[in-house]
Subunit: 370 residues, 2 copies
Amino acid sequence: MTEGHIEVDYRLQSPEGALAGRVEALLLEQTVELPRSALRSSFVRDRLVGRVLGTEAVGPGDFRVTLAQPELATGDDPAQLLNVLFGNCSLQPDVQLEDVRLSPRIRQALGGPRFGIAGIRRLVGATGRALTCSVLKPIGLTNQESAQLCLNLSLGGLDIVKDDHGHADHSFGPFGERVRLCLKATEEAAESTGRRTLYVPNLTGSPATVLLQARLAREAGVGAVMVSPMLIGLPFLVDLASELGMPILAHPAFGGAQRVSPLALLGRLFPAFGADAVIFPSYGGRFSYSRAECGLIAGALTAPAGGSPPCFPVPAGGMKVANMGEALGFYGMETILLIGGSLLDAPDAGSLISRARQFVDAVARHPYTR
Amino acid sequence: MTEGHIEVDYRLQSPEGALAGRVEALLLEQTVELPRSALRSSFVRDRLVGRVLGTEAVGPGDFRVTLAQPELATGDDPAQLLNVLFGNCSLQPDVQLEDVRLSPRIRQALGGPRFGIAGIRRLVGATGRALTCSVLKPIGLTNQESAQLCLNLSLGGLDIVKDDHGHADHSFGPFGERVRLCLKATEEAAESTGRRTLYVPNLTGSPATVLLQARLAREAGVGAVMVSPMLIGLPFLVDLASELGMPILAHPAFGGAQRVSPLALLGRLFPAFGADAVIFPSYGGRFSYSRAECGLIAGALTAPAGGSPPCFPVPAGGMKVANMGEALGFYGMETILLIGGSLLDAPDAGSLISRARQFVDAVARHPYTR
């Protein structure tokens, strides 16, 4: 790390002859936004302008460019950090944000995961294996129907049952009632299974709405919540993580809207801004991430830079009970496996519960090597 | 409009033979996220699943797909609206969000521009011509230096002087002091010009920080503010617009360039969520938008659907004083022209003031035809 700087890797498409000028423009655009000739203050020239650490050809006209930008430019602020990383240059189609290495000072200002893997394991009470998770969907179910589904999945012995990230405070399923009924369902299931499933409601809306939902959730006795940081606004995650006092599961919805690599956004920024577990589309499902990308995301979450607490990878998106062995071999025990459709298309409650048990057993019995 | 629905246009890359299946998957992904076979509730099947309004070939393997999605699925919530528009499918690289037509109910729930063109013209006190705007940059100036720049630009007679969107509550230029000094500068300039420039500070940070800045700004007597909705979180704009009681100028930073069209994001969603004026990179500058795209954005802002108040287009990004005539011919009088670098690279205060006057005069004298 360059002292007092954050390091940013971009992919940049440029003719080789124009590269030096294009890199200089990118460097200036992200902090001072003026050509050097217009910088009349020596403080600005010396302290606000970053430097180019390297450029590397990846292919013809395709370069990896590493910049060191002064942490001073971020003002220790989460929104301004995003602006320095990918504010204006997000509007330039020849640039993609590929990776980022935050400085200790910025990591501390953001706060990072408050609970991480250890905190979620404590809540769930499971060690030495991966965790199992499923989801209450589709939206449009009444709260009574969602709670019945929550009961069945809990009877199947899942560690975590979460709301769909499309669950808002809908007229057909108000937030507060859903939370109360689902908590009651996990309590009821625990009487027969002997172990309580962690129910994780989705918080969504403008900050005023989300803070209200957080209060309702806390008062109802919820142990962890989910948010979609790109829908609610990534800097808001910083406020939430510092106020909530419970683990936050982050969903990637709306996260592909920009040309930010999944590694940078989901693997680096989501945990740095306060997520304790990060959902991402696993390879082979209905989304596009490759096995290599998923490995990079999971690696960044479980082995973060600079002594931040490790954070749970939550592969999802078309995973199937039948493939658990392969997924567990790839992700290892420090993972929460999230299965939705492959459980929820069970024709009736009995087969749903037994599929959930099959999922739970496969995860419990897997011969973990890491 | 389809009663009770929002209409969404996507561009979709798909082999023609696979199109029907791909469109069905897209339709379901954005609300229920399950195949129809897993939808056991008739309410869900009838009320939460949208329908395909049309598909149109744009090129080989390239289609425009129009979906009607039930407004019920959005729960009248800004974050869940984004999720229905481009939540999960933002993670699928074959889909781009091209345009959106919100229903009257959703437009009302979001609130739209509270001031729009009329409100900003009232504040500035100018009719029958375009408005002039410049910017305090670079970041790294002391607040005294920023205020001096604000004074010079105000002496040049500009209608609006705004913070750079990179101005946060930096150690080298704290927010509250900057606001006080810049307001004082516009007051001082008004004593010699007879007309007060509108100073627009940038609010940025997590919601807690931004709300604090908004309070400071209001107490200091600020008349309008700027935010970057994609940095602070688009749904937060809804809270801000309903609480602020002053016009909001929206900056496109972090708005991406590829997967959500500028028309949809800047032309439709920014004003629907509460912006009164929207900055966008004008054609021919250092960003990539074409003349046609800029025309679409400006048209969507000034002639919004469904009786919403018109909102100011603010073309920016490398515009030059020398090109004012061309820009004014293209954008017409309902526009705020934002010029930064082309003023700020003036070698001294005297030439800065005279260049600003030249800008102001060109805008005042232009023979507007619309």
